[in-house]
Amino acid sequence: MTTATPAITDRVRDFVAAVGEHFTDLRDVDREELLGDLEQHLTELAAEAPDVFETELGDPAAYAAELRAGAGLTEGGSTRPGRIARLTTTVRDRVQAVVDHPRMAPLHEFLPMLRPAWWVVRAWALIVVLALLMGGGTQVWAHHILVPGRNVVGLLALVAAVAFSVKAGMAGTDNGRGWRLVNRIAAFALAVIVWIGLTAAPLETVYVETYSDVGAPYGLLTHPDGEGITNLYVYDAEGTLLRDVFVYDGGGRPVEIGPDTDEWFAIRTEPRIDAAGRVIGNLYPVVQYVEDGARGLVLREPPQVDIPRLPEGQQPVSTTVPPETKAPPTSHTPPLIQPE
Protein backbone atom coordinates (compact mmCIF):
# COMPACT_ATOMS: atom_id res chain seq x y z
CA MET A 1 0.00 0.00 0.00
CA THR A 2 1.27 3.42 -0.90
CA THR A 3 -0.01 6.75 0.23
CA ALA A 4 -0.96 9.69 -1.94
CA THR A 5 1.88 11.97 -2.84
CA PRO A 6 2.09 15.27 -0.95
CA ALA A 7 1.39 17.18 -4.15
CA ILE A 8 -1.90 15.38 -4.73
CA THR A 9 -2.89 15.71 -1.09
CA ASP A 10 -2.37 19.46 -1.22
CA ARG A 11 -4.37 19.84 -4.40
CA VAL A 12 -7.18 17.74 -2.97
CA ARG A 13 -7.18 19.79 0.20
CA ASP A 14 -7.28 23.03 -1.75
CA PHE A 15 -10.07 21.75 -3.95
CA VAL A 16 -12.15 20.57 -0.97
CA ALA A 17 -11.63 23.95 0.67
CA ALA A 18 -12.74 25.70 -2.50
CA VAL A 19 -15.83 23.53 -2.77
CA GLY A 20 -16.57 24.13 0.89
CA GLU A 21 -16.74 27.86 0.31
CA HIS A 22 -19.87 27.25 -1.73
CA PHE A 23 -21.53 25.48 1.17
CA THR A 24 -21.42 28.27 3.70
CA ASP A 25 -25.21 28.59 3.59
CA LEU A 26 -25.72 25.01 4.69
CA ARG A 27 -26.21 23.84 8.22
CA ASP A 28 -23.02 22.56 9.87
CA VAL A 29 -24.26 18.98 9.85
CA ASP A 30 -25.04 19.10 6.14
CA ARG A 31 -21.74 20.72 5.26
CA GLU A 32 -19.86 18.22 7.36
CA GLU A 33 -21.83 15.44 5.70
CA LEU A 34 -20.80 16.62 2.22
CA LEU A 35 -17.21 17.57 2.96
CA GLY A 36 -16.30 15.07 5.66
CA ASP A 37 -15.40 12.26 3.31
CA LEU A 38 -14.79 14.30 0.19
CA GLU A 39 -11.05 14.52 0.79
CA GLN A 40 -10.84 10.74 1.04
CA HIS A 41 -12.97 10.34 -2.07
CA LEU A 42 -10.93 12.79 -4.13
CA THR A 43 -7.69 11.28 -2.90
CA GLU A 44 -8.86 7.90 -4.20
CA LEU A 45 -9.83 9.57 -7.42
CA ALA A 46 -6.53 11.41 -7.88
CA ALA A 47 -4.57 8.25 -7.17
CA GLU A 48 -6.30 6.48 -10.05
CA ALA A 49 -6.43 9.32 -12.53
CA PRO A 50 -3.74 11.93 -11.92
CA ASP A 51 -5.27 14.28 -14.48
CA VAL A 52 -8.60 14.18 -12.66
CA PHE A 53 -8.39 17.83 -11.61
CA GLU A 54 -8.40 18.92 -15.22
CA THR A 55 -10.73 16.31 -16.72
CA GLU A 56 -13.10 15.38 -13.95
CA LEU A 57 -13.25 17.98 -11.28
CA GLY A 58 -12.76 21.26 -13.08
CA ASP A 59 -14.32 24.26 -11.47
CA PRO A 60 -14.93 23.93 -7.73
CA ALA A 61 -18.11 25.99 -8.05
CA ALA A 62 -19.57 23.64 -10.68
CA TYR A 63 -18.48 20.63 -8.69
CA ALA A 64 -20.08 22.08 -5.55
CA ALA A 65 -23.35 22.71 -7.40
CA GLU A 66 -23.43 19.19 -8.78
CA LEU A 67 -22.57 17.68 -5.43
CA ARG A 68 -25.28 19.70 -3.77
CA ALA A 69 -27.84 18.56 -6.33
CA GLY A 70 -26.74 14.95 -6.01
CA ALA A 71 -27.09 15.10 -2.24
CA GLY A 72 -30.51 16.71 -2.55
CA LEU A 73 -29.49 19.97 -0.93
CA THR A 74 -30.71 23.04 -2.73
CA GLU A 75 -29.38 26.56 -2.83
CA GLY A 76 -29.93 28.56 0.31
CA GLY A 77 -30.22 25.74 2.76
CA SER A 78 -31.07 22.20 3.46
CA THR A 79 -33.96 20.56 1.74
CA ARG A 80 -33.41 17.44 3.68
CA PRO A 81 -36.07 17.59 6.33
CA GLY A 82 -35.29 17.16 10.00
CA ARG A 83 -35.69 13.92 11.86
CA ILE A 84 -39.27 14.61 12.96
CA ALA A 85 -40.31 15.87 9.54
CA ARG A 86 -38.86 12.72 7.97
CA LEU A 87 -40.69 10.57 10.50
CA THR A 88 -43.92 12.42 9.80
CA THR A 89 -43.42 11.90 6.09
CA THR A 90 -42.76 8.21 6.61
CA VAL A 91 -45.87 7.78 8.74
CA ARG A 92 -47.95 9.75 6.27
CA ASP A 93 -46.62 7.65 3.39
CA ARG A 94 -47.44 4.43 5.23
CA VAL A 95 -50.95 5.61 6.05
CA GLN A 96 -51.38 6.78 2.47
CA ALA A 97 -50.25 3.38 1.23
CA VAL A 98 -52.90 1.69 3.37
CA VAL A 99 -55.54 4.15 2.23
CA ASP A 100 -54.57 3.68 -1.41
CA HIS A 101 -54.64 -0.09 -1.19
CA PRO A 102 -57.15 -1.58 -3.66
CA ARG A 103 -58.93 -3.43 -0.86
CA MET A 104 -59.77 -0.06 0.66
CA ALA A 105 -61.70 0.94 -2.44
CA PRO A 106 -65.14 0.22 -0.93
CA LEU A 107 -64.25 2.55 1.93
CA HIS A 108 -63.49 5.33 -0.52
CA GLU A 109 -67.08 5.16 -1.69
CA PHE A 110 -68.54 4.68 1.75
CA LEU A 111 -66.66 7.27 3.80
CA PRO A 112 -67.83 10.33 1.83
CA MET A 113 -71.38 9.33 2.70
CA LEU A 114 -70.50 9.81 6.35
CA ARG A 115 -69.44 13.38 5.76
CA PRO A 116 -72.71 14.91 7.02
CA ALA A 117 -72.36 12.85 10.19
CA TRP A 118 -68.92 14.30 10.67
CA TRP A 119 -70.30 17.82 10.34
CA VAL A 120 -72.54 17.12 13.33
CA VAL A 121 -69.95 15.19 15.30
CA ARG A 122 -67.25 17.81 14.95
CA ALA A 123 -69.58 20.51 16.28
CA TRP A 124 -70.62 18.29 19.16
CA ALA A 125 -67.02 17.36 20.01
CA LEU A 126 -65.91 20.97 20.05
CA ILE A 127 -68.81 22.07 22.25
CA VAL A 128 -68.19 19.19 24.64
CA VAL A 129 -64.55 20.14 24.92
CA LEU A 130 -65.50 23.76 25.44
CA ALA A 131 -67.91 22.71 28.19
CA LEU A 132 -65.24 20.51 29.74
CA LEU A 133 -62.69 23.29 29.73
CA MET A 134 -65.15 25.58 31.48
CA GLY A 135 -66.60 22.88 33.73
CA GLY A 136 -63.51 21.78 35.61
CA GLY A 137 -62.82 18.40 37.15
CA THR A 138 -63.05 15.02 35.50
CA GLN A 139 -66.12 14.04 37.52
CA VAL A 140 -67.99 16.83 35.82
CA TRP A 141 -66.46 15.76 32.51
CA ALA A 142 -68.32 12.48 32.64
CA HIS A 143 -71.64 14.36 32.72
CA HIS A 144 -70.75 16.57 29.82
CA ILE A 145 -69.66 13.78 27.57
CA LEU A 146 -73.18 12.63 26.90
CA VAL A 147 -75.03 15.91 27.08
CA PRO A 148 -72.87 18.96 26.69
CA GLY A 149 -73.76 21.84 28.94
CA ARG A 150 -76.78 20.18 30.52
CA ASN A 151 -78.28 23.59 30.57
CA VAL A 152 -79.96 26.00 28.21
CA VAL A 153 -76.77 27.82 27.28
CA GLY A 154 -74.96 24.57 26.54
CA LEU A 155 -77.83 23.28 24.46
CA LEU A 156 -78.12 26.52 22.49
CA ALA A 157 -74.37 26.51 21.88
CA LEU A 158 -74.61 22.95 20.64
CA VAL A 159 -77.47 23.65 18.29
CA ALA A 160 -75.75 26.76 16.94
CA ALA A 161 -72.46 24.94 16.44
CA VAL A 162 -74.11 22.04 14.65
CA ALA A 163 -76.07 24.39 12.41
CA PHE A 164 -72.96 26.39 11.56
CA SER A 165 -70.87 23.29 10.92
CA VAL A 166 -73.48 21.60 8.73
CA LYS A 167 -74.09 24.79 6.78
CA ALA A 168 -70.39 25.18 6.05
CA GLY A 169 -70.17 21.52 5.13
CA MET A 170 -73.08 21.67 2.72
CA ALA A 171 -71.81 24.85 1.14
CA GLY A 172 -68.40 23.22 0.77
CA THR A 173 -66.70 26.21 2.38
CA ASP A 174 -65.05 24.11 5.07
CA ASN A 175 -61.88 23.52 3.12
CA GLY A 176 -59.83 26.48 4.22
CA ARG A 177 -56.94 26.60 6.60
CA GLY A 178 -59.11 27.51 9.55
CA TRP A 179 -61.53 24.68 8.95
CA ARG A 180 -58.72 22.22 8.56
CA LEU A 181 -57.59 23.27 12.03
CA VAL A 182 -61.15 22.92 13.32
CA ASN A 183 -61.35 19.41 11.87
CA ARG A 184 -58.07 18.46 13.44
CA ILE A 185 -59.03 19.79 16.86
CA ALA A 186 -62.42 18.10 16.60
CA ALA A 187 -60.83 14.79 15.63
CA PHE A 188 -58.43 15.07 18.54
CA ALA A 189 -61.28 16.05 20.88
CA LEU A 190 -63.28 13.08 19.70
CA ALA A 191 -60.37 10.77 20.41
CA VAL A 192 -60.03 12.24 23.91
CA ILE A 193 -63.77 11.93 24.53
CA VAL A 194 -63.79 8.31 23.44
CA TRP A 195 -60.77 7.64 25.59
CA ILE A 196 -62.38 9.23 28.66
CA GLY A 197 -65.60 7.42 27.91
CA LEU A 198 -63.80 4.10 27.86
CA THR A 199 -61.70 4.67 30.94
CA ALA A 200 -63.92 6.80 33.18
CA ALA A 201 -65.78 5.21 36.06
CA PRO A 202 -69.52 4.66 35.54
CA LEU A 203 -71.67 7.73 35.97
CA GLU A 204 -73.10 6.48 39.30
CA THR A 205 -69.83 7.13 41.06
CA VAL A 206 -70.33 10.78 40.33
CA TYR A 207 -73.35 10.84 42.59
CA VAL A 208 -71.64 8.90 45.36
CA GLU A 209 -68.96 11.51 45.27
CA THR A 210 -71.46 14.33 45.86
CA TYR A 211 -72.81 12.67 49.02
CA SER A 212 -69.45 11.99 50.55
CA ASP A 213 -69.49 15.05 52.77
CA VAL A 214 -72.60 14.09 54.77
CA GLY A 215 -70.53 12.66 57.56
CA ALA A 216 -71.28 8.96 57.91
CA PRO A 217 -68.02 7.11 58.01
CA TYR A 218 -68.00 4.12 55.74
CA GLY A 219 -68.95 0.83 57.38
CA LEU A 220 -71.14 2.23 60.14
CA LEU A 221 -74.88 2.06 60.45
CA THR A 222 -76.53 5.27 59.49
CA HIS A 223 -79.81 6.98 60.22
CA PRO A 224 -81.96 7.76 57.20
CA ASP A 225 -80.70 11.36 57.40
CA GLY A 226 -77.17 10.08 56.98
CA GLU A 227 -75.94 10.55 60.52
CA GLY A 228 -73.79 7.69 61.72
CA ILE A 229 -74.97 5.24 64.38
CA THR A 230 -72.04 4.51 66.66
CA ASN A 231 -73.70 2.29 69.28
CA LEU A 232 -77.07 0.80 70.26
CA TYR A 233 -78.59 1.14 73.72
CA VAL A 234 -81.53 -1.14 74.47
CA TYR A 235 -83.94 -0.40 77.32
CA ASP A 236 -86.84 -2.40 78.61
CA ALA A 237 -90.27 -0.89 79.22
CA GLU A 238 -89.28 0.13 82.75
CA GLY A 239 -86.40 2.14 81.39
CA THR A 240 -83.69 -0.25 82.52
CA LEU A 241 -80.66 -0.36 80.22
CA LEU A 242 -80.11 -3.90 79.03
CA ARG A 243 -76.53 -5.01 78.69
CA ASP A 244 -75.09 -7.70 76.43
CA VAL A 245 -77.99 -7.86 74.01
CA PHE A 246 -77.47 -9.61 70.67
CA VAL A 247 -79.16 -7.77 67.83
CA TYR A 248 -80.27 -9.40 64.57
CA ASP A 249 -82.26 -8.10 61.65
CA GLY A 250 -85.39 -9.72 60.21
CA GLY A 251 -83.32 -12.07 58.11
CA GLY A 252 -81.33 -13.27 61.10
CA ARG A 253 -78.25 -11.38 60.10
CA PRO A 254 -76.23 -9.81 62.92
CA VAL A 255 -76.60 -6.05 63.05
CA GLU A 256 -73.18 -4.51 63.48
CA ILE A 257 -72.21 -0.91 63.72
CA GLY A 258 -69.09 -1.60 61.77
CA PRO A 259 -65.61 -2.87 62.15
CA ASP A 260 -64.05 0.25 63.54
CA THR A 261 -64.65 3.27 65.65
CA ASP A 262 -65.90 6.65 64.63
CA GLU A 263 -62.80 8.69 64.19
CA TRP A 264 -64.85 11.82 63.88
CA PHE A 265 -65.89 11.62 67.54
CA ALA A 266 -62.70 9.88 68.65
CA ILE A 267 -64.51 6.81 69.92
CA ARG A 268 -62.51 3.66 70.62
CA THR A 269 -64.33 0.36 70.64
CA GLU A 270 -63.36 -2.54 72.83
CA PRO A 271 -63.92 -5.66 70.79
CA ARG A 272 -65.86 -8.53 72.42
CA ILE A 273 -64.71 -12.06 71.76
CA ASP A 274 -66.80 -15.25 71.81
CA ALA A 275 -65.74 -18.59 73.29
CA ALA A 276 -64.14 -19.58 70.02
CA GLY A 277 -62.05 -16.42 69.94
CA ARG A 278 -64.06 -14.69 67.21
CA VAL A 279 -64.96 -11.03 67.38
CA ILE A 280 -68.65 -10.43 68.13
CA GLY A 281 -69.97 -7.46 66.25
CA ASN A 282 -73.62 -7.40 67.31
CA LEU A 283 -73.43 -7.41 71.11
CA TYR A 284 -74.82 -4.15 72.48
CA PRO A 285 -74.15 -1.77 73.93
CA VAL A 286 -70.65 -1.96 72.55
CA VAL A 287 -68.08 -1.06 75.15
CA GLN A 288 -66.52 2.18 74.02
CA TYR A 289 -64.14 4.79 75.25
CA VAL A 290 -64.07 8.43 74.28
CA GLU A 291 -61.38 11.05 74.39
CA ASP A 292 -62.04 13.50 77.18
CA GLY A 293 -59.40 16.17 77.16
CA ALA A 294 -57.01 15.89 80.06
CA ARG A 295 -58.62 12.73 81.43
CA GLY A 296 -57.72 10.85 78.28
CA LEU A 297 -59.84 7.88 77.29
CA VAL A 298 -62.89 7.41 79.47
CA LEU A 299 -65.68 4.85 79.32
CA ARG A 300 -68.51 6.10 77.15
CA GLU A 301 -71.61 6.65 79.24
CA PRO A 302 -75.08 5.69 78.00
CA PRO A 303 -77.01 8.63 76.60
CA GLN A 304 -79.69 10.46 78.58
CA VAL A 305 -82.97 9.25 77.10
CA ASP A 306 -86.62 9.65 77.93
CA ILE A 307 -88.23 6.22 77.82
CA PRO A 308 -91.82 6.62 76.68
CA ARG A 309 -94.39 5.36 79.13
CA LEU A 310 -96.70 2.65 77.83
CA PRO A 311 -100.46 3.06 78.32
CA GLU A 312 -101.82 1.89 81.72
CA GLY A 313 -102.87 -1.76 81.84
CA GLN A 314 -100.81 -2.77 78.81
CA GLN A 315 -98.55 -5.71 79.51
CA PRO A 316 -94.93 -4.99 78.87
CA VAL A 317 -93.78 -7.39 76.13
CA SER A 318 -90.07 -7.04 76.61
CA THR A 319 -89.80 -9.93 79.02
CA THR A 320 -92.53 -12.18 77.68
CA VAL A 321 -90.99 -13.82 74.68
CA PRO A 322 -93.22 -16.36 72.89
CA PRO A 323 -91.99 -19.90 73.59
CA GLU A 324 -91.29 -20.85 69.95
CA THR A 325 -89.08 -17.87 69.22
CA LYS A 326 -86.66 -17.94 72.12
CA ALA A 327 -83.81 -17.33 69.73
CA PRO A 328 -83.75 -15.79 66.26
CA PRO A 329 -84.72 -18.41 63.68
CA THR A 330 -81.53 -18.72 61.69
CA SER A 331 -78.88 -17.19 63.84
CA HIS A 332 -76.56 -18.75 66.25
CA THR A 333 -76.00 -16.78 69.42
CA PRO A 334 -72.36 -16.96 70.37
CA PRO A 335 -71.82 -18.03 73.96
CA LEU A 336 -69.83 -15.53 75.95
CA ILE A 337 -66.73 -16.39 77.80
CA GLN A 338 -68.18 -15.06 81.01
CA PRO A 339 -71.96 -15.19 80.92
CA GLU A 340 -73.53 -12.67 83.19
Partner: protein, 112 residues
Protein backbone atom coordinates in the same frame (compact mmCIF):
# COMPACT_ATOMS: atom_id res chain seq x y z
CA UNK B 1 -20.92 17.67 -23.39
CA UNK B 2 -23.79 16.61 -21.23
CA UNK B 3 -27.18 17.42 -22.61
CA UNK B 4 -29.59 19.13 -20.27
CA UNK B 5 -32.25 16.53 -21.01
CA UNK B 6 -29.96 13.62 -20.22
CA UNK B 7 -28.73 15.18 -17.00
CA UNK B 8 -32.32 15.90 -15.94
CA UNK B 9 -33.34 12.35 -16.76
CA UNK B 10 -30.34 10.99 -14.94
CA UNK B 11 -31.08 12.94 -11.80
CA UNK B 12 -34.24 10.99 -11.21
CA UNK B 13 -32.71 7.58 -11.64
CA UNK B 14 -29.21 8.03 -10.29
CA UNK B 15 -30.30 6.61 -6.94
CA UNK B 16 -31.57 3.54 -8.68
CA UNK B 17 -28.44 3.23 -10.83
CA UNK B 18 -26.09 3.54 -7.85
CA UNK B 19 -28.08 1.02 -5.84
CA UNK B 20 -28.06 -1.35 -8.81
CA UNK B 21 -24.29 -1.10 -9.14
CA UNK B 22 -23.82 -1.79 -5.44
CA UNK B 23 -26.29 -4.66 -5.57
CA UNK B 24 -23.73 -6.43 -7.78
CA UNK B 25 -20.78 -5.86 -5.47
CA UNK B 26 -19.40 -3.44 -2.90
CA UNK B 27 -17.56 -0.55 -4.51
CA UNK B 28 -15.76 2.70 -3.71
CA UNK B 29 -16.73 6.09 -5.10
CA UNK B 30 -14.76 6.30 -8.29
CA UNK B 31 -15.33 2.61 -8.95
CA UNK B 32 -19.06 3.31 -9.02
CA UNK B 33 -18.59 6.25 -11.38
CA UNK B 34 -16.60 4.05 -13.69
CA UNK B 35 -19.13 1.23 -13.65
CA UNK B 36 -21.95 3.64 -14.40
CA UNK B 37 -20.03 5.06 -17.33
CA UNK B 38 -19.22 1.61 -18.61
CA UNK B 39 -22.93 0.82 -18.53
CA UNK B 40 -23.57 3.70 -20.89
CA UNK B 41 -24.17 6.59 -18.56
CA UNK B 42 -21.17 8.44 -19.91
CA UNK B 43 -22.40 11.80 -18.79
CA UNK B 44 -22.54 10.96 -15.12
CA UNK B 45 -20.42 13.30 -13.03
CA UNK B 46 -18.30 12.38 -10.07
CA UNK B 47 -19.90 15.01 -7.87
CA UNK B 48 -23.41 13.75 -8.68
CA UNK B 49 -22.47 10.20 -7.83
CA UNK B 50 -20.64 11.20 -4.69
CA UNK B 51 -23.57 13.37 -3.58
CA UNK B 52 -25.96 10.52 -4.28
CA UNK B 53 -23.80 8.13 -2.30
CA UNK B 54 -23.78 10.43 0.69
CA UNK B 55 -27.54 10.88 0.48
CA UNK B 56 -28.20 7.15 0.23
CA UNK B 57 -25.81 6.59 3.10
CA UNK B 58 -27.61 9.17 5.20
CA UNK B 59 -30.94 7.57 4.33
CA UNK B 60 -29.68 4.31 5.77
CA UNK B 61 -29.60 2.45 2.45
CA UNK B 62 -25.86 1.85 2.50
CA UNK B 63 -23.15 0.88 4.88
CA UNK B 64 -19.50 1.74 4.37
CA UNK B 65 -16.09 0.53 5.36
CA UNK B 66 -12.50 1.52 4.63
CA UNK B 67 -10.23 -0.94 2.93
CA UNK B 68 -6.48 -0.61 2.23
CA UNK B 69 -5.56 -0.56 -1.43
CA UNK B 70 -2.40 -1.89 -3.06
CA UNK B 71 -2.14 0.90 -5.55
CA UNK B 72 -2.84 3.94 -3.44
CA UNK B 73 -4.61 5.42 -0.46
CA UNK B 74 -7.27 3.63 1.59
CA UNK B 75 -10.57 3.35 -0.18
CA UNK B 76 -13.98 3.87 1.26
CA UNK B 77 -16.24 1.09 0.11
CA UNK B 78 -20.00 1.28 0.06
CA UNK B 79 -22.26 -1.75 0.45
CA UNK B 80 -26.00 -2.04 -0.04
CA UNK B 81 -28.00 -3.17 3.00
CA UNK B 82 -31.54 -4.51 3.39
CA UNK B 83 -33.06 -1.04 3.41
CA UNK B 84 -31.19 -0.24 0.23
CA UNK B 85 -32.33 -3.48 -1.33
CA UNK B 86 -35.95 -2.65 -0.48
CA UNK B 87 -35.45 0.76 -2.00
CA UNK B 88 -33.93 -0.80 -5.10
CA UNK B 89 -36.83 -3.21 -5.45
CA UNK B 90 -39.37 -0.42 -5.15
CA UNK B 91 -37.35 1.73 -7.52
CA UNK B 92 -37.17 -1.01 -10.13
CA UNK B 93 -40.93 -1.47 -10.09
CA UNK B 94 -41.51 2.27 -10.31
CA UNK B 95 -39.03 2.54 -13.14
CA UNK B 96 -40.60 -0.28 -15.14
CA UNK B 97 -44.07 1.15 -14.70
CA UNK B 98 -42.79 4.57 -15.68
CA UNK B 99 -41.05 3.27 -18.79
CA UNK B 100 -44.14 1.29 -19.80
CA UNK B 101 -46.33 4.37 -19.36
CA UNK B 102 -44.05 6.59 -21.36
CA UNK B 103 -43.61 3.92 -24.06
CA UNK B 104 -47.33 3.70 -24.32
CA UNK B 105 -47.52 7.45 -24.71
CA UNK B 106 -44.79 7.90 -27.31
CA UNK B 107 -45.63 7.82 -31.04
CA UNK B 108 -45.30 4.26 -32.28
CA UNK B 109 -43.45 5.13 -35.48
CA UNK B 110 -40.71 6.87 -33.51
CA UNK B 111 -40.18 4.15 -30.90
CA UNK B 112 -39.97 1.36 -33.45
Amino acid sequence: MRGVETSQLLKGVLDLAVLAVLDGDDAYGYDIVRKLRESGLEDVGDASVYGTLRRLFQAGCLSSYVKPSDEGPNRKYYAINSTGRDQLETGVKEWQRFVADIDHLLPKEMTA
